[in-house]
Symmetry: C2
Subunit: 215 residues, 2 copies
């Protein structure tokens, strides 16, 4: 399946693009500026193409959204027509600067549910990659973090779990899209932990789950 | 400090009481029924006393609340007068049966913030122990789960972190009370994981945090 990453010049988007492309998946990254996307694509190497967000959304069969929370609304409205009938993987964490260490979930309950409402029922929304530190993901190192994958469509979740596996990550089904609130909120806790314990890149691992296939 | 556990005949309350008492802390457990509390206290052994919830709240300098979400409101209203000036450790997870695998945070954002509003500013509220499986905690085994401790008062959080340490658990400061939403929501995800992967007692560990003291 053709993979695109809207907001792919950002830290998380670029890291996801690199891991997927290194695993052999051709990836298109989009940015507000086509030139920036082309530059970042060239820097990242592998089979990564840069273009504008709209073209990236149009080209992808699976489309990752990796823009900041403040840009989520405008970005999704712009590209919504090109996402209908597709799987969209939203990675948005509702961080509201300057209080990024404080959980501030949106009125919809989560950024993921907000995205689903913005995009409409024609889009199969999955959310994931909320907790992984982008600066670890961009390198070839163990990220020390599981990927919790949320969505109301189990088959779509499974595709994202598999993609994360290709990226060398352990991903787990976390339940319906509403459960995205847990991982989105956890990111503010991880940022707090980084500051409180003066560390760099706290992560989260689920214990008690063997590497067995989903029941 | 004298420790009481309101709702201490429940699975989580009894497990916390047993771990604290085994570590040498005398504990009073409360229940709606004094007789039930006396029976459970006798079964648990160690220096555990059973009484009614109101007397337990009155007796404690630190008071744990381990009642189900459906009973949180009524219980707190009943004992609020006896909690003023004290540290209250709320463990409430907003599970709403039958959909316990679905995150359903209350309008206040979290059960902890709801408890703070019910009890008023005279109470120093801390929330913790949302994610640990009670059936593991009641035994002398590794629970495979970190304890995230939330509260707006850092010194009160530190006391709870220390108590968890006495109980043989690793506890971490998770930030302000509002951040309790993350751990509360995560419990529904853990229940989902238990069912989806057919396991018994998924837990959560924070990675990247050395056992260094708080910065």
């Amino acid at each position: 399946m053709k993979i695109s990453i809207v907001g792919g010049t950002g830290k998380l988007g670029a890291a996801i693009a690199r891991r997927l492309a290194k695993a052999g998946e051709p990836v298109t990254i989009g940015s507000r500026s086509r030139e920036s996307a082309e530059e970042v694509a060239a820097e990242l190497g592998f089979a990564i193409t840069g273009t504008d967000n709209r073209s990236a959304a149009e080209a992808g069969e699976i489309v990752f959204i990796t823009v900041p929370f403040a840009a989520q609304d405008a970005t999704l409205r712009e590209i919504a027509p090109y996402l209908q009938g597709k799987i969209v993987v939203d990675t948005t964490v509702p961080l509201m600067p300057p209080k990024v260490m404080r959980v501030q979930l949106p009125p919809e309950g989560s950024a993921a549910v907000r995205a689903q409402r913005l995009l409409g029922e024609g889009v199969t929304l999955v959310s994931a990659f909320h907790n992984v530190a982008a600066h670890k993901l961009i390198k070839d190192e163990d990220v020390g973090c599981d990927i919790l994958v949320f969505g109301d469509d189990k088959a779509a979740r499974e595709i994202v779990v598999s993609l994360a596996g290709l990226m060398g990550l352990r991903a787990l089904h976390g339940g319906p899209l509403a459960n995205s609130a847990a991982a989105e909120a956890l990111t503010s806790v991880l940022i707090f932990l980084n500051k409180a314990y003066q560390i760099d890149g706290a992560g989260v691992r689920i214990t008690g789950v063997a590497d067995a296939p989903l029941a």
